[in-house]
Amino acid sequence: MKLRVLYFARLRERLGVAEESLDFAGTTAADLVAQLQARGGAWTEELAAGRAFRVAVNQDIVALDARLTDGAEVAIFPPVTGG
């Protein structure tokens, strides 16, 4: 399936990308994170287990076992700090 993946704030800067289109053969958000982590470098480091990041699917924050669907907008970002 095709996904649109967005990155924000510190993760956007560290990964060097704000948005990309991606082919995804897995099932869950955790599978996507594993696929991205396999890219090495900052990807491996920032998306390691235990690092604080959030995943939103179609603009709702989800747990890592959430299932992804074709055409979904997935966003990965640090814990929020507004207000």
Partner: protein, 151 residues
């Protein structure tokens, strides 16, 4: 209900007046303004830039307000959050809640702020004498939001 994400400043007096204009059933308006400070985590802050996730931000704020309206009897709510570059002393966020009685107005206003701090996709980057830094999420904000979790 009015929810705005904007770079421009807001006018607290005008927003609160809008909540009560033309009606005589409002007994209480609790409001909150959060401002950029010149100091955070022990070092000076010369400016900050607020990034957000367009689309999700408005959706997350609307969900917070809907949750507040489900928990308390509210007459109207306004939430305005600024984005972009702000200087110390600049207002960042406004939450104003109108209700019949003060207890509900206070509770809903504080609830919305506490949840906004942990649920709405905004991120602050500070300019300090030591360079730029992204603000880290604070455990105290998680604790403040957790107070409202239902048993």
């Amino acid at each position: 209900m009015k929810i705005l994400v904007q770079s421009e400043a807001f006018d607290l007096g005008a927003e609160v007046d809008a909540l009560r204009q033309g009606r005589t059933d409002v007994g209480a308006i609790a409001s909150f303004v959060g401002l950029a400070r010149d100091m955070n985590e022990g070092s000076g802050v010369q400016a900050m830039t607020l990034e957000h996730y367009p689309g999700m931000t408005e959706k997350a704020l609307a969900a917070l307000v809907a949750e507040a309206c489900g928990r308390w009897t509210l007459l109207d709510v306004t939430v305005i959050h600024r984005v972009g570059r702000l200087l110390p002393g600049d207002p960042i966020v406004l939450v104003a809640v109108a209700s019949q009685h003060r207890g509900e107005a206070f509770a809903a206003c504080e609830f919305i702020m506490d949840y906004l701090k942990t649920q709405a996709p905004f991120w602050k980057k500070e300019e300090t004498p030591q360079g730029e830094r992204w603000v880290e999420a604070r455990a105290s904000d998680d604790a403040a939001a957790a107070r409202w979790d239902q048993p």
